[in-house]
Structure formats: C-alpha cells, structure tokens
Amino acid sequence: MNTLKQAVTDFGWPRIIIFLFVVALFIGAPFVNVRVDSSFTDVFNRFGQNAVLVLALVPMVQAGCGLNFGLPVGIIAGLLGSTLAMEFGLVGWAGFLGAIALALPFAVAFGFAYGFLLNKVKGEEMTIAMYVGFSIVTFFAILWLLLPYSSPNMVWGYAGRGLRTTITLEGYWGRILNDFLALRIGENFQFPTGMILFVVLLTVLMGFFLRSKTGTAMTAVGSNPDFARAGGVSADRMRLTSVVLSTVIGAVGILVYQQSFGFIQIYNAPLFMAFPAVAALLIGGASVNKASMLNVIVGTFLFQSILTMTPSVINSVLQTDMSEVIRILISNGMILYALTRKTKVTK
C-alpha cells in the first residue's frame, strides 16, 4: 500500500487526473456520437506532428538548462529552411529533405549563439530563454517582410514582396511524411505510417545518443555539475552541445509539423509554440531537470488526445465550446505544477 502511495506521489496527482480524463474522453466519445476511429486518426496525426518539437526539449532538460522556452530559436531556423527550399523550387522529397538540409546550418549557428548566451546566465535560463524566443520571432517578422523572397507562391500577390502570413505547402511537400506508406483501415481510420516512423527514428536516435559517452556526460552535468566537473567533464561545453542539439531538433520538428499541417506559418505564429510542447513533456512525467523518451511519447500522446477530443466530446456533453479554457488550464496548470514541485527548505 505504501509503495503504491509513493508511486502515486512520484507520478503526481495532476498527471493521474489528466490520464483518467483522457480515458474518460475516449470511453465517453461513442455515447455522444463522436467516432472513435476518426478521433484516433486525428490523435495519431497530431501526435506525429508535435512529437519532434517535444523531443527537442529533452537535451536541454537533461543538461540542466531547464525547460527550453526558447524553442522558437530552432523553429525560426526551420522556417528559414522551408521558405528557402520553396524559394529554390524544391518539391516532394527533395523539398522536405532540402528544407532540413537548408535549416541545419542556421539551427547550428543560432544554437551556438543561444547556448553561449545561456551559459552566461546560469540559474536564470528559463525566463531569459522565453524572452530570447520572443525577440527572435519578432525580429524575424521584420526580415520576412524585407528579405528578397520572390517565389509567387510565397509573397503577397499585390505587392510582389514580403512573405504571406501562411504559405501553403500544396504542390511542394505537404503531407509527404504522413502519406508515406499510410495505412487505411476502414472508412475513417488512417495511420500516418511515414511520419510515425520518422518520429520513432528520431526518438531512438536520441535515446542512443543519451546513452552514449557524450549523452551520459550531459546528463551528469545536469544532475550534478560539480561532480561532473570533478569527473573531467566541461559543464559549459556539454550545455552548449545540448542547446545546439535542442535547436537543431526544434528546426526539424517544425518542418515535420508543417508538412503534416500543410502550411508554413510565419510572423507571430511561432511566438507561443514552445508552451504546448513544454506542457506535453511535463504531462508525460518529465520534471524540470529530468526527461526521458517515454515522457516524450506518453506526454505528446496524452496532450494531443486532450486537444483532439475535448472540442468534440466536451462540447457535445455541455453544449458549449469550453475546449479552449480546458486547454489553457491543463497545459499551464501542468507547467505550474512542475515549476513549483521542488521546494527548497529555506523558510
């Protein structure tokens, strides 16, 4: 009994409530005429769409840099990659892979600068990361207007310059991962095999990396910097590596998101993209300084299930659209819970 109690406390009441809530949503769905199979299609789609962005948070958590609210730094690199690939007229697989290839140098460069900055401000990373993210998004909003993009599919029709707020990937690489080997079962269920495989591949790679020599050193820096230093590990270098890695995966993450969503969203759209990713990771059982692959998978699945199911199920039950409020309360409540979890004993 005591061990059960301990397990419950470790896992945290909020997560158990959220888990039960999701189960209740799926059980309740058929009773209010919401099709479970098409719901599952949505859940899998959104899971794949968001999982890589959640995965991007893991290295920095492990290295002790906290929750990466500066994820937009990576997202901007990804946006540069996809807009450039479109500008060069790359389509299909060449487009998607080209976008990744074009985004990488930006992600590495941004990651270095961002990581260098975060190394200078140990202890205040999260607040600063958040504002670095906001700054880069608004700064790039100017560049989207000024950079000499010329592809007629991307720029405003009447002015002939300045990127549109949403750019469709139709005819480029929209849904290229989703439709790759997609499994159709019955009328309403489709499994986005390609995208899920891609997510699994990245997750496995990340798992191996964290077990490698560098990955272990990174985790050591996160759990006990002094101990790591005594073991001959440079804390600054490991943290820098984790930030670069996080930024690079963030860039890939937004590209996966875009191909599934079908649109590139620029200007202010990336401003708050870090928050749902952070919430998902925490719902999966991660804490501010510890995260695993399992947390990513479970968390993204639970969080996206809530986002998919609440509009349809709750609205049918209550006859009113409360999904937005529920989303806000769950995601931010979870982040709050994680931030207030570890209390220091000073009175």
Binding site: I142, L145, I335
Partner: protein, 369 residues
C-alpha cells in the same frame, strides 16, 4: 582616470536606456510627427500607464524579480469594471466601485500568487508568467461561462446573445475618462489629466513612505539575503506574500486607470499584454531585476511610449510599411527585457565569482604568512 571608468560604468549600468535613447532619437525626426502631438500623447500615456508600472516595484524590492503575475491584478480590475458597468454606476463613482469590487479579488489572487511563488524560489519570474497564463484560463471560465449563468448579470447589453458570458468588447462609456477629465488642466496647447497625476503622485508618496516602514525594511532585507533575514527573525514567506498582494492590488487599480482612459475593454485580451508593457517600460527606464526606483518608472514610460508613438510612422517613412515599424518596436521591447535579464544574471554570476576568488586569494595570503 577614475572619471573615464565612471563614464564606462554608467554606460554599462544603463546600456538598455542608452540604446533606446539612440534609436528613438533617430526615429523621432524620421517619423515626421509634430512635437506638439508627441508631447500630448506622452502626457496622456504617462497618466494611463505609470500606475501599472509602479505595481512592479515592491516585488523587485523583495528580491522576487519582475512580477509577471501582475496580470492577475489586471484581471481583478477588469472584473471590477464589468460589475461597475453592469450596475450602471457613472463616472468616478463607477471607478471607485470597480476598485472596491476588484479589491477582495486582487487580495485573494495576490495571496494565491504569493503562495505559488514561495514554492518556486529562484524561478519566480517564469512561474509568475505561467501563472498569468493559467489564471487567464480561470478568468475566461468565470467571465465567459459563469457570468450571466451562475453570477447574475443584469444588463443584457453586455452579455453575449446566447444569454451568458460577457461580450468580447465591453464599452466603458459610463466611466470613460472620468478620472482624466475630473480635473483636466489646460496648459498652453496641452491638456493635463491632473486628477490621474494626483493619484499617481499619492502612490509615489505611499511607496516612499512604505520603504521606511518596518515592513518595507523587511522586504529590502529579504531582497538582499533570505537566509540572513530568516535568522534575523523576519517572516520571509509571509513578507514575500505581502509584497505580491500589494503588487496585485496596485495592478488592479492601475488596470482600471488604464482602461478608463482607453474607453473600452477587450474583455478577454486587455490583460494579455499588461505584464509585458509594464516590464518593458520599467526595464527601459533603467531599472534592473534587483533594483528599481520611482524615476525609472517615469523615464521608462516616456521612453517606451515615445518609441511606440513614433515607430510605425518611422517604419512607414523608411520602408513604406508601417508594419515594419510595429514589428521593430515589439522586437526592441522584447529584446530590452531579454537584455536587462541577461545583464542582471551576468552580473549576479560575476559577483559570485569575484566573491569566491576573493575568498581563495585570502586563503592563499593567509597561507603565505
């Protein structure tokens, strides 16, 4: 020699202010706006915003950083205004009623925020920020779903057509600019909202007085060192909660002053940018995360809003697109906050390193003896 070092130190201490000054000094003539227009706008905006910025001072004094949770107070003020409009109380009385209704809400929210922040020591700022998001959800739950269904709302004019929930835009005609016009003084071509200025002046006096009280001294002590303060018998947690409660109450009043000047209220969005603007103004005014003074507030409000007035026009003149100016001022404000936070964290670490190095040097000298 010592003078050159002083100049560099002053520059380094006020880097954010200097950068803002330079950019604004460049943008003002480019915008082509008349001095009279700019000055009148600034006079209005000081009355509109200064009170909100003041609400950040006490938590900084208590070493809790920038209270991004001040948006909770803003929400309390909005709830007060909804009640005042619903009951149809006109003018300054309406504002007073709004503050009266908002008061218990703000105290409750402030106490809650203080409790939460006490559990998140060392990361108060990010926690306060997320708390603002979370309470925005609660606010929506109450205003959009409970008002008119559980909480009685009399006026059908402010409820949504479905019968419950407040409309997205709340017209504040009954209280519009009632404080500003209560004692509007005309000086040359300018109109000064003296009543608002008096309220702000009283707040300044309150803050000056508060610093000298026992409670104020306790807060400053806690801001210096929590451990030592605890040993000295100061109730650290309680004092921190009081700082946040006062901050939330001031933000509540500040939001009411802000909205009566605006004249209408975006029910679900009015508070979203409040924390950002207040923080940006204070930091642009030369405050740091650990030290903020009354002049910082006024310098900051003037500088930030000067930029907000001229930047769209400057962008339009330079690039032919006002939007570029708008993005630019947002980017600059976010960057100002980021930079102020970075400088603060940087300095904190440098001081810690220096202290450690001093310790080491002392030991070495002792060993040599």
């Amino acid at each position: 020699m010592s003078k050159t070092i002083d100049v560099r130190k002053i520059l380094a201490d006020n880097l954010v202010v200097v950068i803002f000054l330079v950019i604004t000094a460049f943008a003002v003539p480019v915008s082509g706006l008349s001095a009279q227009f700019i000055i009148q706008e600034l006079l209005t905006r000081i009355g509109r915003n200064a009170f909100l910025v003041f609400s950040l001072l006490l938590p900084i004094m208590a070493g809790m950083g920038i209270n991004f949770g001040m948006v909770l107070g803003a929400m309390a003020g909005e709830i007060g205004l909804i009640v005042a409009v619903d009951w149809g109380i006109l003018g300054v009385n309406g504002l007073a009623l709004a503050a009266l209704v908002g008061m218990p809400v703000a105290v409750l929210l402030g106490w809650l925020a203080g409790e939460v922040l006490n559990r998140a020591r060392g990361r108060e700022m990010v926690t306060g920020y997320i708390l603002g998001f979370f309470m925005d959800g609660v606010y929506q739950l109450i205003v959009l779903y409970m008002m008119g269904s559980i909480i009685p709302i009399r006026s059908p004019a402010i409820t949504l057509s479905r019968g419950y929930g407040i409309r997205n835009t709340l017209g504040l005609d009954s209280v519009r600019q009632s404080l500003d016009t209560l004692l509007a003084v005309r000086v040359g071509p300018y109109v000064l909202p003296m009543a608002t200025y008096v309220v702000i002046g009283l707040l300044c006096l309150f803050i000056l007085w508060f610093r000298r009280t026992k409670l104020g001294q306790d807060m400053r002590a806690i801001g210096q060192d929590q451990g030592v303060s605890h040993s000295a018998g100061i109730a650290v947690e309680r004092t921190r909660i009081i700082a946040i409660v006062i901050s939330t109450v001031l933000a509540m009043i500040g939001q009411i002053i802000f909205l009566q000047n605006m004249g209408n209220m975006a029910t679900y969005n009015a508070h979203k940018q409040t924390g950002f603007f207040a923080a940006a103004a204070l930091l642009v005014g030369g405050a740091s995360v650990s030290k903020a003074t009354i002049p910082n507030v006024f310098i900051g409000v003037v500088l930030l809003h000067l930029m907000y007035i001229v930047m769209p026009r400057a962008g339009a003149q330079l690039f032919g697109q006002a939007q570029i100016g708008e993005f630019f001022r947002d980017a600059l404000s976010y960057a100002a906050i980021a930079m102020a936070l970075v400088i603060y964290a940087w300095r904190k670490r440098a001081n810690a390193d220096k202290a450690r190095a001093g310790l080491r040097g002392g030991e070495a000298a002792g060993g040599a003896k």
